[in-house]
Amino acid sequence: MSEPLVVIGNGMAAARFVEELGKRALGRYAVAVVGEEPHLAYNRVLLSSVLAREVPASDIQLKPARWWRDRGVTLLYGKKAVAIDPAIRRVKLANGATLPYSKLVLATGSNPILLNVPGMNLPGVLTFRDLADVAAIAAVGQGKKAVVIGGGLLGLEAAYGLAKAGAKVSVVHLMDRLMERQLDLRAAALLKRAVEAKGVTVHLNGDTAGIFGSKHAEAVVLKDGRRIEADIVVVAVGIRANAALAHGAGLVVDRGIVVDDHLQTSLADIHAIGECAEHRRICYGLVEPAYEQARVLARRLSGDDKAAYTGSVLATNLKVSGVNVFSAGDFLGAPGTEQVVLSDPGLDSYKKLVIADGRLVGVVLYGDTADGLWYLDLIQSNASIDKIRDELVFGRALVERIAA
């Protein structure tokens, strides 16, 4: 008889995990997927495009219902798992039902962080994480005032989507530059200009004091006294790994559910992948590490003992139409590193390579991002770039032509 394998969470990591497992060990497990959201798994990445009305919501489903059926997966969506009892190897659902497991995979993703300031629970204060959020945000009418708190990747995509939908959008950002976790000062300045060109007002160094409103959000008030009128407020200040269940089950949880290179939690047969997991002290917030983890775990659970996950080098893509940014590695350049910079405002292009000991260790690309992944490969391969350094920033095609 197949072993019962339960996946909690029906998001991107979960879907990929099932896909990978299906390729290797179809039939070995009786798979059940529990998902809180009342949908088939969908591509969360595309929520921005949905908000920007570039893609219809109906188009973002990852796999059709039949696909799940064909793999014999029991899909329990619209159901929340509320507890795990490792002692008896059971998962309890909100409706009281329990599911037995021999293997448990946690793929619960993360939750948006809310600010600890007054007014956070006023109607009209929204987050941007799932389809329900998108529906709520999209309901704001033409010409309404929207304030996005957070000038990171997510906040900017929300702001762009809102602006495209016809709202008057302001972004309030705590730091002196947008996307400070992914961009250096120069790229951030270019980005600011591009975002502003899309009709979004940017307020930097804006520390939110609270959201003002009697029955509904009316304005965002900053600590320096600035006050920005708002019909809705979207809070996109970051995410926190969704580890409540794990915590309740007594698993080791730090910022996320702590896993080892085998994606195993502190308890045997309980695994965690995706944004909810913390691997080597890192909680990732992107899909690629989630996919890698999903694949490694699928291999292990199919009997491949050698499979291991050793971490991902992050690369960032911002999905604001016409604005390409990419960064990876030590893009700021730690002391002792060297930099090669190429910029051409006329082509809206800026590229910075960070080099240490003759190796590429970081990159920021603005505008011309086509070679991002190639740089990422170079960073990961840790190969010497001394010979190609003079061509490197001009891109792969030139380097390869010269080498040929």
């Binding site: 893509n317 991002t369 086509a370 991002g372 992944l373 350094r389 920033v393 030139l398």
Partner: protein
């Protein structure tokens, strides 16, 4: 004026560069330019042109042209004024200075670039009407020693032979002449002679030039010792019974004297070899060849002339030809190759301080004759200041007014720095010029007069074989430009000499000049073109190239001189001259251990004010350099391709070092072409000593003691600009014209960060693309305005100087594509790099064009296969909707 024709016929004119005087066919393109080809009917070149001549069409642009009279303002700027005003100012200025300080307080400094008619009018005004012989010319730097040598030996400045002698000689001896570069078309005739008739070529030059490459015998003489070689030759000819006693007895005097002097200088081959630094067997071979070969031409040029003993050198050569009677007969003779296009014309009108006019001097009879012909009120009675002395006289205030025509003395004279300072002391400093700015103008000219340039000028020039050719206009005069003769005549009128200068046109000037040459001549003077004194306007326009003398209207055959004597001395006999023992005027010392030699490069002319406009010509030798023998390189710790400062007691230059085994050890060679306009520190004139030949006044520009030390620059690079780029001090730079603008090659010690700070100032109002790799010392910018590449700057470590070829190619284009722009700062061409188009899959960097190509080629047919083929859409999947749309758009939809 004629209506512009749509198919203008080619105009027959003459190349304005070297003394070969090639005929040129110029076909105006109706847009201010012209295509240029050789004139097959011209007897100097029969259709050939050299690289300089061929590029004439590229030098016609009006960029940088002086188009209006200008006057210097109190704030030192230049302001436009009317012709009337300008001419009044010139005339009044001259008048008041002459009134106060006498006629010798004014001077004209002319040029072998002027037409004969310009020269004639200027000479006439000064020597006949102002009353001073302070008229000298840059020909002083070039031909004066030949003139003096000819006059001492022949009694007149006569070139005895014709170019045909070069075709018919069996031995061609080239002394101090890099004809391969400096007289290329004539050189080709000599090479043809060698090839077809087996003529032997001997090249005598301290430097192994291009000309030496084809020589049967190359004699690298020690600088300044040519006289010893030819003295030795005369002795050898005497000792081997190779003399023509018949000729010596009938047509010459002073032979014994000259031979005795020759014996004291070089009694035998061994002594000759020691004195000249040559191998005895080479000397012997040369002597034998010369002695044996009846048909011998000895052609000489600046290497002979530009010396403090130049006149002696010329005469030492002439001695050998007189002694063998090899003169005036086909295939024989001493042959002076003149440098400039109209040095000969200037000599014919007497535009030199030590000549009066029409090959007449300052004897009472000549002064009287010319005075009567001109009906001149104030004939100058004595010789004036020759070039170097003229600028001395300016420096110590004796000369207070100067008019410089068509030359750039602030660059070309010895001690150029001193000359520039002298010019700034003038009370009145007039320059008639083609260009708005050159070093002479910058030396503080008070009044600038816009002169007609080649293609606009109308008149005649005379080449090295005495052949007068027309320079005909094929372009209209731009702006307010005027011929120089017109300016002088207008000033003359304002000085009260209207009647004597009432020329209706250039033909009037020519006829008067021709008439003067024939005036009371009767065969006593070599220069006689009386046969042309009555040409009509149309005849003048149609004048075919014609060799003087033209004593009567129907004499039109080419003439050689002196086969049967007939010299222009009082007894009609030639004089043998006993030359001084050769020694450069200045000895090398421990502080200045090298000898500095100067000269031309192939593709540039003089100070590059015109050849510098041609991108093609600029690419041959773009940087000013010093050639050093490899042994000296090691001794002086220099690097080939590095930099060095050359210092003499007169000044210093900073040049690129080129190792050349053709260079004599102990000698340095530096080209003459660069000025403050074209390089930061390469005005070679500044280095050159002012010692002159006692007879010709020609300065010794090829033998100044000099020191050389290596100078290191940390960085090298280049810049390109549509207009001049204000490079900061103390950048080392050399400027060259490139298609579409100006290029600079540069060297600097300023680190990339310094250049980054300056970028804005270098390219104001431009959008700047920038590449910086500080640790590698690389900094590059490209400046754009409205999408057009306006300029760029590349700086890199000196050891790997950035190359400009691919950047230059982009700079030349009207518009550049995005991919080319993206690759531009790599300094490498974008060839073969596909434009991938807007990025669709950001995760894998897959572009729209790449996806479309995959679909077109069938490598992919739908979103899944795109993913398989290109990986697009297989990671985060955010591009999947777009991929779907691309596939959908491509597949034709059923209607």
């Amino acid at each position: 004026m004629n209506a512009p024709s749509h198919h203008p016929a080619a105009v027959r004119t003459t190349c304005p560069y070297c003394g070969v005087g090639c005929g040129v066919l110029a076909k105006p393109d109706g847009r201010g330019g012209a295509t240029v080809s050789g004139d097959p009917a011209h007897p100097a070149n029969f259709g050939r042109l050299c690289s300089k001549g061929s590029a004439l069409g590229e030098t016609l642009s009006l960029e940088g042209r002086l188009l209006h009279p200008m006057v210097r303002m109190p704030d030192n700027g230049l302001a436009r004024i009317s012709w009337d005003n300008a001419l009044d100012k010139v005339a009044n200025g001259f008048r008041s200075i002459i009134d106060q300080h006498g006629p010798d307080s004014v001077a004209f400094y002319l040029s072998g670039q002027l037409l004969t008619e310009d020269y004639y009018v200027a000479n006439k005004l000064m020597k006949g009407f102002v009353g001073t012989a302070n008229v000298d010319t840059n020909s002083r730097l070039c031909m004066a020693s030949s003139v003096a040598g000819h006059r001492r030996a022949f009694g007149a400045d006569t070139v005895p032979g014709t170019y045909e002698d070069l075709d018919e000689a069996d031995l061609l001896v080239l002394v101090g002449s890099n004809a391969a570069w400096c007289h290329p078309v004539l050189y080709q005739r000599m090479i043809a002679n060698k090839r077809e008739r087996g003529a032997k070529i001997v090249v005598i030059d301290p430097r192994r030039t291009m000309t030496a490459e084809d020589a049967d015998l190359f004699l690298p003489v020690a600088p300044g010792t040519d006289t010893a070689l030819f003295a030795g030759l005369l002795v050898h000819l005497a000792d081997t019974y190779a003399l023509d006693y018949g000729y010596i007895d009938s047509y010459t005097t002073d032979f014994e004297n000259a031979l005795a002097r020759a014996r004291s200088i070089a009694p035998d081959i061994t002594t000759t070899a020691t004195a000249t630094g040559l191998a005895p067997q080479d000397v012997a071979r040369f002597f034998q060849l010369f002695a044996r070969t009846e048909k011998t031409v000895t052609a000489f040029s600046q290497g002979v002339n530009q010396s403090a003993q130049g006149t002696d050198k010329v005469d030492a050569i002439i001695n050998c030809h007189l002694a063998t009677g090899r003169i005036g007969k086909p295939g024989t003779g001493p042959f002076s190759l003149t440098g400039q296009p109209n040095a000969m014309g200037g000599r014919e009108v007497g535009g030199l301080a030590n000549q009066l006019a029409a090959h007449m001097g300052f004897t009472p009879a000549d002064i009287d004759r010319v005075g009567r012909f001109w009906q001149a009120p104030a004939m100058s009675q004595t010789e004036g200041h020759k070039a170097v002395a003229m600028f001395d006289a300016i420096a110590h205030g004796e000369i207070k007014a100067l008019w410089v025509m068509a030359t750039n003395p602030a660059v070309s004279l010895p001690r150029a720095g001193f000359v520039r300072d002298a010019l700034s002391k003038l009370e009145l400093f007039v320059v008639s010029e083609n260009v708005l700015s050159n070093d002479t103008v910058q030396a503080g000219a008070h009044i600038l007069l816009p002169a007609a340039a080649w293609g606009e000028k109308d008149g005649t020039v005379t080449n090295s074989e005495r052949r007068i050719s027309r320079q005909r206009p094929f372009l209209t005069l731009p702006g307010e430009a005027k011929p120089d003769w017109w300016m002088v005549a207008e000033v003359a009128k304002r000085l009260g000499f209207g009647e004597a200068f009432a020329y209706r046109g250039v033909a009037d000037v020519f006829r008067e000049h021709a008439a003067l040459s024939a005036f009371e001549n009767n065969g006593t003077r070599d220069f006689d073109i009386g046969g042309l004194a009555n040409v009509s306007g149309p005849e003048f326009n149609a004048l075919e190239p014609i060799m003087w003398p033209v004593r009567t209207e129907d004499s039109s055959t080419d003439t050689r001189f002196f086969a049967k004597g007939g010299f222009f001395t009082s007894d009609r006999k030639a004089r043998f001259i006993a030359p001084e023992k050769p020694a450069p005027r200045m000895a090398v010392t421990t502080n200045f251990p090298f000898r500095l030699n100067t000269g031309r490069v192939r593709d540039q002319w003089h100070t590059m004010t015109r050849t510098g406009l041609s991108p093609r010509l600029g690419s041959h030798s773009p940087e000013p350099f010093v050639e050093v023998h490899p042994d000296d390189l090691t001794k002086a710790n220099l690097t080939n391709g590095g930099f060095a400062r050359i210092t003499t007691p007169y000044g210093s230059c900073l040049l690129k070092v080129t190792a050349s085994a053709g260079q004599r050890p102990g000698s340095l060679f530096v080209p003459i072409h660069w000025s403050a306009e074209t390089a930061s520190s390469a005005r070679v004139g500044e280095l050159v000593n002012p010692h002159t030949d006692p007879f010709s006044g020609q300065p010794e520009v090829k033998a100044t003691p000099a020191a050389i030390v290596a100078v290191d620059f940390a960085y090298r690079g280049f810049a390109l600009g549509r207009t001049a780029i204000p490079l900061p001090q103390p950048t080392w730079w050399a400027r060259v014209t490139v298609t579409g603008g100006t290029g600079y090659l540069l060297a600097t010690n300023d680190a990339p960060e310094r250049w980054q700070e300056r970028a804005r100032a270098l390219f104001p109002d431009c959008e700047l693309a920038e590449y910086i790799d500080g640790p590698r010392g690389l900094y590059r910018i490209a400046a754009f305005r409205e999408g057009r590449l306006e300029g760029c700057l590349f700086v890199g470590p000196a050891a790997h100087a950035p190359q400009w070829d691919s950047v230059k190619a982009l700079f030349e284009m009207e518009a550049i594509e995005d991919m080319q722009r993206r690759m531009l700062l790599s300094g490498k061409p974008a060839d073969g790099i596909a434009e991938i188009g807007p990025v669709i899959c950001a995760c894998f960097g897959v572009g729209l064009n790449t996806i479309r190509e995959a679909l077109a080629s069938g490598a992919a047919t739908n979103v899944e296969t795109i993913g398989q083929a290109l990986r697009a859409g297989t990671n985060c999947g955010s591009c999947l909707p777009e991929l779907k749309r691309i596939v959908h758009d491509r597949v034709p939809q059923p209607v």
